[in-house]
Symmetry: C2
Amino acid sequence: MPIYNAPVQDIQFLLQDVLNVTETGVPGYEDLEADFTSAVLEEAGKVARDVLAPLNLSGDQEGCTLENGVVRTPKGFDKAFAAMKDGGWTALDCDPEYGGQGLPYLMGTAVGEILVSANMAFNMYQGLTHGAYSAIHAHGTDEQKAKYLPKMVSCDWTGTMNLTEPHCGTDLGLMRTKADPQDDGSYAITGQKIFISAGEHDLAENIIHLVLAKAAGGPDGIKGVSLFIVPKFLVNDDGSLGDRNGVTVGSIEHKMGIHGNATCVMNYDGAKGWLLGDLHKGMKAMFTMMNEARLGVGLQGYAVAEAAYQNAVAYANDRLQGRAVTGAENPSGPADPLIVHPDIRRNLMDQKSFVEGARAFTFWGAHLIDRSVRMDDADAEGLISLMTPVIKGFQTDKGFEMAVNAQQVWGGHGYIEENGMSQFVRDARIAQIYEGANGIQSLDLVGRKLAQDGGKHVMAFFEMIKSFIKENSEDERMKPFNDALKAGSKDLQAAAMYFMQNGMKNPNNALSGSYDFMHMMGHVCLGFMWARMAKAAFAAQDAGTGDATFLATKIATGRYYMARHMPATGMHLARIESGAEPVMALAAEAF
Amino acid sequence: MPIYNAPVQDIQFLLQDVLNVTETGVPGYEDLEADFTSAVLEEAGKVARDVLAPLNLSGDQEGCTLENGVVRTPKGFDKAFAAMKDGGWTALDCDPEYGGQGLPYLMGTAVGEILVSANMAFNMYQGLTHGAYSAIHAHGTDEQKAKYLPKMVSCDWTGTMNLTEPHCGTDLGLMRTKADPQDDGSYAITGQKIFISAGEHDLAENIIHLVLAKAAGGPDGIKGVSLFIVPKFLVNDDGSLGDRNGVTVGSIEHKMGIHGNATCVMNYDGAKGWLLGDLHKGMKAMFTMMNEARLGVGLQGYAVAEAAYQNAVAYANDRLQGRAVTGAENPSGPADPLIVHPDIRRNLMDQKSFVEGARAFTFWGAHLIDRSVRMDDADAEGLISLMTPVIKGFQTDKGFEMAVNAQQVWGGHGYIEENGMSQFVRDARIAQIYEGANGIQSLDLVGRKLAQDGGKHVMAFFEMIKSFIKENSEDERMKPFNDALKAGSKDLQAAAMYFMQNGMKNPNNALSGSYDFMHMMGHVCLGFMWARMAKAAFAAQDAGTGDATFLATKIATGRYYMARHMPATGMHLARIESGAEPVMALAAEAF
C-alpha cells in the first residue's frame, strides 16, 4: 500500500523562513508561531497517515455505489469523516462566529495539502463544503448564515456547487435550470445538473446544494443567472430537519479516478430554494469564491504529485536493478537500487523541484488571499486574481505529468492497480479538467487578467521580480537563481509584448498562445519562488540556524529547477511568437 | 461509443508519394502498387471499424477473468479473432513457406497501425504471436519451424514472450528461472514469470511460450541465459496436440489499461521446453527481434493517439460552447462548436501534426527494416538500430501526451469511462513502460547506439539531413521546413558533442541528458519526416496530381509541427548542457 508522510519540515520552512508569517502584519498571523504551526501540521500529518491514507487505495477500488437513491461511500469513509469532524479539521479557517477556529486561509491551505495528499477523493466532501460555506458566508443574509453555517463548519451538513448541465459546462449562458418565484419568498428550482461532486452520500445528515439557475426578468445568457440555496432536507426555524426537498440523485458517474467521491447527476423537480445574494447576480457570487476554489484545485495538482513522489522515492531506494555506471554502490547486493541511475534521478528531481516550487507558489497565493481578505489589500487581490489561473492550470498540468513520472519509476509494477501509482495518475487527471478546464484558465489569464486594471498587476509582478534580482545581485550564491529568473522573466515579458502588439489586429494571435503563456508564467512564478527559497536558505545558513542538510538540499533542488525547468520558457515564447497562422490555418473539415 | 476510421489517404500518401515504394528496388515492393495497397488498407479499415473498434470499450469495461486456471477474454473477442484469422490478417507479412502472404514488413506495419488504433488490447494477442513467430523463424531448426510456424502464422496457436520475473525486469541478469537438460534433449523449465501478455486465454488451441531461463554451465548474469520453446500443450510428431505441459497461469493482473489483454503470472513447474537458437545465447536471439518489437510499441504510441484524436475532432465539431472571439461562426445555433476556439485548435494541431509525423517516422523505420532484411543493407540496419529507441521512447511519450490532450478536448465528459477517452489514455500509458521502459530506451540510445560502429550511423543521419536541406534550398516554399530542421539538427549535434566532450570524464554527464536527447532526436526525426512530406506534397501540387485539399492540409500541418513542436529542441539542449551536477547533487537519503 502506498505510503504518505506529511512534509512538515518543508511546510515550516515556507511559513517561517520564506513567508516569515509572524512578521507580515496580517491580522491573525501573529498566532502562527513556529511551535504552534508545527504542532498543527504534525497533528494533521498523523490524521493523514493513520486515518486518510489507509483508505485511499481501498476507496479507489471500492468506489461509491447508488442503490434506491442512496449513495454509499467506500468502507471506512464514515468513520474517517467522523474523525475529521471530531478533530476540528473541517473548521480550521472558518469564522469563529459559526464555530470555526478562525485560523488564516494560509494555514487552512497548508493543512489542506496534507489531507489532499493522503486522500484526494475523501477530502473533496469537506472541500466542497468549504466552498459552499464561503459562498454563504460572503453573500448570505444573517438569517441564512445562522441557519446553515454552524452545521457546515462542523460538516454535520456538507455542501455542493451546482453549475454544469448536460449541454453546458464552460458556457453557462446556455443554462436551462429554472427558478420560479413562490409566494413565500422561496423559488421552485427545476432542471438537471451534472458532475456534482459529493451531490449525494452517506456522510452527513443534510446536504446544502448551491444551485445556479435562471429566474425570469434578468438579462439573457450568463448575466441573468442567480444562485440558490437548496437543502436536501428543509431546515426548520429551530434548526431541526424538516421535509425532504425535491432534489434527487439520478445516477453516479463511472470515472477515470476519484472513485471515492460520488459524482452525481442531480435532478431538481420544483425543489425549494432560497436566493443567495442578489437576483441575476449569481455569477458574481460564484466569482468571489473562484480564487479560493481554483487555488484549491491547483493545490490538488501538486499535493497528489507529492504523494506519488514519495512512493517513487521509496521504490527507487528499494528496487535493486542494474549497477551504477560509475561503479557498484551496493556491491554486497545482487544489484544497486534504482536511485543510483542518472535517469531515475532526473525523473525524481523533476518531481521534487516542481512539487516544492508549487507548494511555495500556492502558499504565497494563500497569503495574498489573506492579505486581500484580512487587510483589504487591493494590490494583493489584484495579484492573486492574476495568479489564480496559473496556479490552477500550470500546477494541475505539471502535477499530472509528475504523477505520471512517479508511476514510471515503478516500471511495469506502476501499471498494476494494487500498487497505487495508477490511482495517483487517474486522480490527478481530473484537476486539469474541473473548476474550469485548463484551456479556460489560459483564456482567463490572457484574455482577462493580463489587461485587468490596465495591466497594473502583471506590471507589478515584473517589477517585483526585477527588484528581487537587484536586491540580491551582490550575493554570488544567488547568481544561478537570478540569471535563470531574469531570462525567464524576459521571455515572459516578450510574450506579453507580442500579445499587445499582435492581439489588437487579430485576437487569435493572443489566444493561440494563451496556453503556452500560462505555462511560461508558471515557470517564472516557480522560478521566483525558488529564488526566494534559496535566499531564505542562504540566510539561515549564514545565521547558522536550521537543519544544515535540509538547507543544502533545498538549495540544490532549487538549482535543479533553475537549470532544468526554466529553459521551457524559451520554447513557449517561440511557440507564441509563431502566432495564430499555423494554429488557425485549417478549415474545420480538414481535421 | 468512440469512432474510428482508418486514415487510408494519409497512409497511401506515405507509401506512394513520400517513400515511393515501387521505385525503391526493395524485393517485394514491386507488388505495392497504389491500387493494391489501397485495397488492402481499405479492407483492413473495414475490419477495424466493423469488427475490432466496436469491442474496444466493451473489452475495457469487461476485462479478462481467471477461473479454475482458465482465462476468459471479453465477450466477442473469440468471434473477432476468428474473423481476423479468416481474413488472413494474421499472416500478412509472414513467410509463404509457412502459410504467410509474404508481404513486406512495411505493409504489415501499415495494416498494424489500423488494427491497433481500433483495438490495442485485442491486437496484442496477434502481435505477441508475431513476435514469437519471428524468433522461431530466425533461430529455430527446420524441424521447429515446420512444427510451430504454420499454426502460429494462422494464429490457431498464439505465442508469448517470457522475460520478466518478480524481482527483475530491466536487469535480466538476476533471472532465477532454471532449465535442466533432460535425456531426451529437452529441458525441464522451472520458475515464475510475470507480466506475460496473452499468457493464457481462450482464443487459441495452443499457446507457444518463448521463455528465457538459465541453464547450467554458462557465464553469470545476462550472458548465460537461453531461450526455450515451451508449448502449453505438447505437440506430437504428426502435429496433433498431446499432453498438457507443466505451465499454468497463477493469476492475472488488474491493470490501469489494456484490460482486454490478459497479463499473466506464469508458473513453470518442470515444464518441457526445447532450446531455441544456441545455448547461453538467449539474449542474442531476443535482440534480433527487438527492433521489430520496439517499433511495434512505438506504433502503438501514435496509433492510440490517432484514435483519440479522431474522437477529439468529432467532439470539437459537435459540442456547442461559447462564441468565436472573431465573431459567431454558427450564428443560428445557441453557440459555436468548440473547434472555432484557438486553444482547441492548438490542442488538435499538436495532436494531428504529431500523429502524422510519427506515422511517417514509423513507416520509414519499417522500410529500413525491409531494406536490412530483404537487401542485406547494412547501412539501413545500422540506421534502424539507432532509430529504434527513439521510435519507441519518443513516440510512446508523445502518444500518451496527445491522448491526454484529446481527452482534454472533451472536458468533464472525457473523464467519464463510458465515453472512451479515458481508455485511450490508460491504454496508451503501458506503451511507455513495456518492451523496455522509456528511460531504458534513452540509455540504449545514448549509451550504446550513438557510438555504435564508431558513431557511423548518427553521422550518416546528420549527413542525410544536411543533404536534404541542400537539395531543397532553392525552393522558397521549403524554407520554413529547412530552417526549423536545420536549427533542430544543430541543437542535436551540439548535444551529441556535449556528450562526447563531457561523457568521457564522467559518464553521468551523458546519462543525465539521455532522456532529453531521446526527445530532441524524436523532434528532429519528425521534423525531417515533415520536410520530406512537404516536399512530396509540393511535388504533387506542381504535377497537378492528388487531392488538392489533402495536399494543402498536409503542408499546413507540417508548418505547424515546424513552428510549434520543433522549438522543444532548444529546451532539451539547455537541460542537457547543464550536465550531471544538478541531477546527481543529492544524497539518496535527501529525496
